[in-house]
């Protein structure tokens, strides 16, 4: 498989806002046809990472590292090259569909605008393509939807329109930032069914951002876990949930109740995620970690790769069995 997206040592600092780097040495890759999950809690940097791929960066942020999409190095590219990337190769679907569409323009304008402007298509051709796309995302009445305004559609229907919009460029890489978080569970399932089908049919690579571990396990091939701007673990999806190797991943799994099993008491992670004003010298998770030792607090651990698994924890090997006990391997979810 060819590599579509390569992020190498991406760091992002905004010293006037945050004492710690918002992203610190993020390295990740997405192959063609692969669904890669990026999991973490609010403030972990997962959205920033995805947005950086489109060079949607906060103003004046100090950015380091390399992001390569196909042959283009995004961070150093000219404005024209970035525009070309956005209109031909990479698309993004955001959490809130209403935030990304002009409420006083019709759905049809939204969908055909980029085809006509970016690709110079005549009106009829663009319209035909828009109809095809609305059909592809499973909307019941494409002709009518083209004439409708965003407020006439429910959240789930509008998110389908946004996906159709993202597909107008026939992207090779689709970035999905919590695309179903605001939706009902049954609608979520339908949207994911559509995304999965399109992804398989077109061989797209997908970077799928979510805070929902079970969702990531269900839809992703590989998963990266972020904490406080750093990747702390990377693994094939199933193995991550069966055999977590980082105490944070294991803690997240243990603190998520399962729908198939009874729990006497959830194991919760004490404290709260690092604020922007905290920048402990060692492992960012150490203040909340039940297994932390002095060495953890002294020095930032490296991300150590072993086969298809990588983990940023100096105690990972010693804790292997203990953390495995917190995984999902014996849970009801099979």
């Amino acid at each position: 498989m060819s590599r579509l997206l390569e992020i190498e040592s991406l760091s992002l600092r905004m010293p006037w806002l945050a004492k710690r780097p918002l992203l610190d040495g993020v390295t990740l890759g997405v192959d063609a046809g692969e669904v890669v999950g990026l999991v973490g809690e609010s403030g972990s940097g997962k959205s920033l990472t995805a947005r950086a791929v489109l060079r949607l960066l906060p103003q004046n942020a100090e950015v380091d590292g390399r992001i390569t999409v196909g042959d283009t190095e995004v961070l150093g590219a000219t404005k024209a090259d970035v525009r070309e990337l956005r209109r031909s190769t990479v698309s993004m679907v955001f959490q809130d569909p209403r935030a990304g569409i002009n409420p006083i323009r019709r759905i049809g304008d939204f969908l055909t605008e980029s085809l006509r402007l970016n690709h110079g298509w005549p009106k009829d051709k663009a319209r035909t393509r828009a109809l095809e796309l609305l059909q592809a995302v499973g909307l019941p009445d494409p002709e009518r939807h083209l004439r409708q305004f965003p407020h006439e559609l429910s959240g789930g229907m509008l998110q389908r329109v946004m996906i159709a919009g993202a597909l107008t460029v026939e992207p090779r890489l689709l970035l999905c930032d919590e695309p179903t978080t605001a939706l009902d569970v049954t609608t979520q399932a339908e949207i994911l069914s559509i995304l999965g089908r399109l992804q398989r049919e077109q061989g797209m690579g997908m970077l799928f951002i979510t805070h929902d571990l079970d969702l990531a396990a269900a839809v992703c091939d590989r998963v990266y876990v972020m904490y406080a701007g750093r990747i702390v673990e990377q693994s094939p999806a199933q193995a991550l949930f069966d055999r977590p190797r980082h105490p944070y991943t294991a803690g997240l799994l243990a603190s998520t109740p399962g729908v198939d099993a009874d729990h006497d008491r959830l194991v919760s992670i004490p404290g709260a995620p690092l604020s922007l004003l905290q920048n402990p010298p060692g492992c960012a998770f150490a203040p909340r970690c039940a297994y932390a030792q002095d060495a953890c607090r002294a020095e930032q651990p490296d991300l150590v790769t072993e086969g298809d698994h990588a983990v940023r924890c100096i105690r990972s090997a010693a804790l292997r069995d203990e953390l495995r006990g917190l995984g999902r391997h014996d849970g009801g979810a099979a």
């Binding site: 805070h211 269900a218 803690g251 997240l252 109740p257 729908v259 198939d260």
Partner: protein, 275 residues
């Protein structure tokens, strides 16, 4: 369950007029809740679960039906101050968004103090002591009492909202998606806190949520709502282990898990629509 339940709801109904058509938002909801018990209300948007919660605490007036607290019917005429205060002492609510439910200009201690004052604790030092006691119950202390909400994390704010709701010693605490906006690791802390409070005080919980896993953890019983109606009401473990109604099966199948097949959901949805 004792003979007189903490909370009994009989045939609660509410309709709205929307674009000229009558929408039956809540269509005959009934349930009982004993001391220290916990009832889940599950459903998707538009199911009527939030409207039910809002009627319980008097934020919406029901078209018909009864709400009995310890056997005594609430006066649902909200024009009397006494009736409102009485309902507030019986039932309190915690909302989803801890960023919207606290006044940004009032300190955490001040927010709780106002509730105590409203409900008749006249003595200032008594209120101060009670405020700290309430904050202590949710794992916060004197430091948090003096700060504005913006100094607190989402999880801490939600604890404050819980402490404020507990200030009047309500019989029942209604939680409307109260942990949905929290990060997973923090959500577990708040869920454990609710369980502890329920065990130690005998307060009843009405837990409104779309999250079946969370409901399974918190609730003894759960009812599933769709389009205003209760389609299934059973002990939570039974409900989720062997759902009887097609709609419950649909909701359950839609919960992501490894090996999950989203394509299957479409078929179940059509099946549920047909029922």
């Amino acid at each position: 369950m004792s003979d007189t339940p903490l909370l009994q709801v009989n045939d609660l109904r509410k309709s709205y007029l929307s674009h000229g058509t009558v929408v039956q938002a809540v269509d005959g909801v009934s349930f009982r809740l004993g001391p220290g018990e916990s009832l889940g209300i599950v459903g998707e948007s538009g199911s009527g679960k939030s409207t039910t919660a809002r009627m319980l605490v008097g934020l919406e007036a029901p078209d018909s039906g009864e709400i009995l607290v310890q056997g005594r019917a609430l006066d649902l005429d909200r024009s009397h101050r006494e009736a409102r205060l009485h309902q507030a002492r019986a039932l309190q609510i915690v909302f989803q968004d801890p960023y919207l439910s606290l006044d940004p200009r009032v300190t955490v201690g001040g927010a709780i103090d106002a509730v105590l004052k409203l409900h008749g604790t006249g003595d200032k030092s008594a209120r101060r002591a009670r405020t700290l006691e309430l904050l202590g119950q949710v794992g916060l202390g004197e430091r948090e009492a003096g700060v504005l909400p913006r100094r607190l994390s989402g999880g801490q704010r939600q604890r404050v909202a819980i402490a404020r709701a507990l200030a009047v010693e309500p019989r029942v605490l209604v939680l409307d998606e109260a942990v949905s906006a929290l990060d997973v690791s923090v959500q577990a802390q708040v869920l454990n806190l609710l369980t502890d409070i329920r065990r130690s005080t005998g307060i009843g919980l009405v837990f409104v949520s779309h999250d079946l896993a969370v409901v399974r953890y918190v609730c003894d019983e759960a009812l599933v709502m769709r389009r205003g109606e209760v389609v299934e009401h059973r002990p939570t473990a039974d409900l989720l282990d062997s759902p009887e109604h097609p709609y419950t099966r649909l909701l359950l199948s839609a919960v992501p898990r490894p090996g999950w097949d989203p394509d299957e959901i479409g078929r179940l949805r059509r099946e549920a629509e047909a029922s």
